[in-house]
């Protein structure tokens, strides 16, 4: 058995500490140790984007990130976006715009979209396509997802005047 190492993170605003296997990916640690199964493992090799999370404000592939390298980091996942029972504008836009079908790529898509809107609240269609280009969806054909991100941006109170 691999050595266990302590990892302390702020996960979706909550202080958390767990022992994880040395060498474990953040994806496996989040899912197996921290109990957050919203990031999905579609390829475990950094090509599908289903495991995308935001670490210290930056979009990262959790399947290519070592859990122990995240000690002290602030991590946001799709499971942490809703406040109380109210969905985040992106979640609402995805739901209303039929931007999710099987749902497996959805948490990663929403993270990629959030990382974009955090940096650029008023993106162009090209900005959205570029931001989602690391995330593979096999059901929707992408267009409803692009439209949902643009709709969420348009509905945002932070939108530039």
């Amino acid at each position: 058995m691999a050595k266990k190492v302590p990892v302390q993170v702020t996960l979706n605003g909550e202080e958390r500490a767990e022992f994880v296997e040395s060498g474990a990916t953040l994806l496996n640690a989040l899912r197996g140790r921290f109990g957050d199964t919203s990031p999905k493992g579609g390829c475990h090799q950094g090509t599908c984007g289903a495991c995308s999370v935001i670490i210290d404000g930056e979009l990262k592939l959790s399947c290519l990130t070592l859990a122990e390298a995240c000690d002290g980091a602030e991590i946001v996942t799709t499971a942490g976006l809703a406040t109380n029972s109210a969905m985040h504008p992106l979640q609402r836009a995805f739901a209303e715009g039929f931007a999710a079908q099987c749902g497996f790529c959805t948490p990663g898509m929403i993270m990629a979209a959030k990382a974009l809107l955090d940096q650029k609240p008023d993106p162009t269609r090209e900005d959205v396509i570029e931001a989602l280009s690391g995330n593979i969806c096999r059901c929707t054909g992408y267009e409803p997802i692009i439209q949902a991100v643009l709709a969420a941006a348009a509905a945002s109170p932070h939108k530039a005047a």
Partner: protein
């Protein structure tokens, strides 16, 4: 935007289609967007073992020996399984509906028939230990000549791919192929103004779902097992597992649920029997989840097909004879392909009324990855071939391709080649709407046609 075309078939239905044109949310979408939806792999259990499969590196080979001794000694390994551990090792999925013979090994015993075939299952405390131990399994192969396309498979003297069949095609009760015979196809060709014969070919297509195939099995402690799986065919999997493990169905509890994309790629029975067997023999929970590489290389794709279509057509646009030979590449094992090839036989006239039809469809074995279901298998590639053929026929006689389809469209009451009368046809009405929507005008007489007989 959905428009309810109430003018069509108004006498055939109650005008109470209130839901059409309304937006309704999927019931599962709140879970999807908040990350709360449970997929099978969103579970973990204490003491869970990870299963890694040792697979054939050859398209066709005899197995001389299997040596698992080094793998068994690897730290963290709980158990190594070979064909000797599987109670009923040779199975076929559709035996449930009496489509035999059993032709596929759960774990290869004497031969491998495709590159990627499962040979040895390794179970360990971690994925990494299972992977490392799998690399220590030694299989001694004698490589055999492989058959890698259907033409080669059907040549006289070709190596036999699958001895359970005895020849490189599936033998139906109707013989070497599924047959449709309707009218007199030779008479039709003799009368035709033009004859066009074309060959269409397709490659295998991987469904590539975002979530890979897999299952997690939990022993319940009373010789009963719960299997969390993303199969698209829960009861096919349960019943085949019952046969393979020689266990009554009441000992097996299969839990399905949200599937992270399937597209037909998750209807085969590839992970559950061996994972349940592993759980039974170790007494521990077992996780068997395909890597992305396995999903792309090992899971069954849509079959490659070759379709030869010969049509006789009149200058006025009527197709008077159609002769089709369809070939479905099943790969090394049947799985669902005998059924897929059969569907093609009934489908080949397409949604057209042709008086003289002859169709033969073959399910062919090659040393390629077993193919299986994918979105409309048996008819999707047939439709590609048929509709390209329709365009070519229209061009041949200098007719507009849409008007050409109106002339040949099936209508209510027409007898189809496989002896099912046409009912509820709406092809003409769909083409009328398509003509308007696509701004592809057709002559007025086609806009006045109807699917009703005499219309």
């Amino acid at each position: 935007m959905i428009r309810l075309a109430k003018e069509y078939f108004a006498d055939q239905r109650d005008d109470d289609l209130k839901q059409l044109g309304q937006a309704f949310h999927r019931s599962d979408v709140p879970g999807h967007v908040t990350g709360k939806t449970n997929y099978f792999a969103d579970r973990s259990f204490p003491g869970m073992l990870h299963l890694k499969m040792v697979r054939s590196p050859h398209h066709h080979a005899r197995i001389r020996s299997i040596d698992t001794s080094e793998a068994e000694k690897h730290p963290g390994v709980a158990r190594v399984l070979t064909h000797k551990d599987v109670p009923h090792n040779v199975y076929t999925i559709l035996i449930l509906i009496q489509i035999g013979p059993e032709d596929e090994q759960v774990l290869a015993a004497d031969k491998v028939r495709w590159k990627g075939e499962a040979v040895v299952a390794v179970l360990a405390d971690s994925e990494r230990a299972a992977q490392e131990a799998a690399a220590k399994v030694k299989v001694d192969y004698e490589v055999l000549p492989a058959v890698l396309d259907m033409e080669a498979a059907l040549k006289p003297g070709a190596p036999i791919v699958n001895e359970y069949h005895g020849q490189n095609y599936y033998r139906y009760d109707s013989g070497a192929c599924r047959k449709v015979r309707f009218g007199d196809v030779e008479k039709g060709f003799a009368e035709a103004d033009h004859i066009l014969e074309q060959t269409y070919r397709s490659s295998p297509i991987e469904q590539a779902p975002a979530e890979t195939t897999g299952c997690i099995v939990v022993p319940e402690g009373n010789d009963r097992f719960t299997c969390y799986t993303n199969t698209q065919a829960l009861f096919f999997s349960l019943d085949n597992t019952s046969i393979i493990l020689q266990m009554p169905g009441h000992k097996l509890r299969f839990v399905g649920g949200t599937v992270g994309g399937g597209f037909g790629g998750k209807v085969d029975v590839t992970t559950e029997p061996i994972a349940i067997l592993a759980s039974k023999l170790t007494g521990r929970p077992v996780s068997f989840i395909y890597s992305r590489e396995e999903e792309m290389q090992v899971s069954s794709p849509r079959a490659a097909e070759t379709i030869v279509i010969k049509d006789g057509v009149m200058n006025d646009g009527r197709i008077v004879a159609r002769y089709v030979k369809g070939y479905t590449d099943a790969g090394a094992y049947s799985r669902h392909s005998p059924y897929g090839a059969q569907k093609g036989a009934a489908h080949y006239p397409g949604p057209y009324t042709i008086e003289n039809v002859w169709a033969d469809t073959y399910c062919v074995y090659t040393n390629r990855t077993p193919s299986s279901a994918m979105r409309g298998f048996g008819v999707t590639i047939a439709d590609f071939a048929l509709e390209v053929q329709m365009d070519k026929l229209a061009r041949l006689i200098g007719m507009d391709p849409l008007e050409f389809r109106f002339i040949n469209a099936y209508r209510d009451g027409d007898m189809k080649a496989h002896r099912q009368p046409t009912e509820g046809a709406a092809l003409i009405e769909c083409m009328q709407e398509a003509s308007k929507a696509a701004n592809w005008p057709v002559a007025e007489k086609y806009l006045r046609m109807s699917s009703y007989k005499g219309g």
